[in-house]
Symmetry: C2
Subunit: 253 residues, 2 copies
Amino acid sequence: MTNRSTGSNPPAPLEGDAHLPLYRRLYQTIAGRITSGDWRPGDALPAELDLARLYGVAPGTVRKAIDELVDDGLIERRHGSGTFIRRPNFDNMMVRFLLYRDPEGREIMPASHIISREIVPAPAAIAQHLGMAEGEDVIRMVRHRHWEGAARLLEDIYLPPARFRPMIEHSPEEIGPLLYPAYERLCGQLVCFIEEEITILDATPEDAALLGLKDGDLVVAIERIAKNASGQPIEWRISRGEARRFRYRISVG
Amino acid sequence: MTNRSTGSNPPAPLEGDAHLPLYRRLYQTIAGRITSGDWRPGDALPAELDLARLYGVAPGTVRKAIDELVDDGLIERRHGSGTFIRRPNFDNMMVRFLLYRDPEGREIMPASHIISREIVPAPAAIAQHLGMAEGEDVIRMVRHRHWEGAARLLEDIYLPPARFRPMIEHSPEEIGPLLYPAYERLCGQLVCFIEEEITILDATPEDAALLGLKDGDLVVAIERIAKNASGQPIEWRISRGEARRFRYRISVG
């Protein structure tokens, strides 16, 4: 690599293919430092000139990379104090994600019960979602969410062991009811992007039994892929619940 | 108002309550100019120093307002050329919004048929969504979306006449298949935020007849409120389709 720095230290290496524009490589490099936990949510990013010096790029290149990191929600500008690594906040989405109607129309935060955690060979579809090979070890965690005295939501969660081994080593109490904070706290894994696809399916006999449904009832299935700051898939899950109870809210813009 | 300008012209007035921080009032003022069509998508925002002079505020106040406008997606920074009014792009969401499964799993862009447009007294719930009084005139537009030779999606759309009268004066051909571009082109109304709520309901006899469903079949109902740059609700709609055919995709982060 040619030395683009004007200072005495050689510049730190940039991630990404050499054919990419420099600002994209700097973007990927900064995203990679968030992914690795080197820079954590709440941390201040170095000043733009320091980043320019560190990586041997022009200040304009730094500004362009930072603009895109802000656009993508990985960092945020706080007026007068600089730029900071952002903690993505999915709370609104999560809470509103499967709102089951309580009789007064209030939002319910369902209790979580981890039913099982095991290492299984990755089924083909799940391996593909997680960028793994079919049959490779994957953590499967089954969780039920309860309210009104019954399981209302069945969650099948798949995690690559290389990143998430603590999720089978810690007790359910240590994990707690919210998985993303546990991923960050116990595994150093930060979820930055999620993609969901919702479909409506016939209940399988097993789902029907667990959810107390009748033959011919429908379930709503929400498949979700969660990605880190570098855009790598780190969790895949499918959640199923009774279709008639389903309510989903989203804001965009 | 005290003159905060150092130049010879008195500053332009700021929108918003005098108790709000100046940067919030500048935010609302800029959002208001987008709402009014005074500044349109693609237009360059004046330079920060010019805005500071125009509104008689400090450059730091301008920067803070602009940071928040960028955060909220109303404007965008383009490196080396300044800041521009953004055209929110809901295409991805719209296309993915109700993906009905074609036999090969391909995405279908359904044909649109405007069935009726009329002015009706606003029902209480719709008046509330649109910030109008119950019984006030509201435009009701019914649209059906067709594929595989049948109506698959029934849309009931409500619009305040003060903003959207051209939507009943122009022909369906002039309106075309995409409503948001028509709102902008024909009415100068820009949709910047949308909120959706999805629920699953028993088909009414009318829905069942139009959608070709059997007694006891379920429909998915998507209620959507669309807001302009100032956060004012400008459209409310409910769309219904067969639950079993429903597929919805969303990315967040």
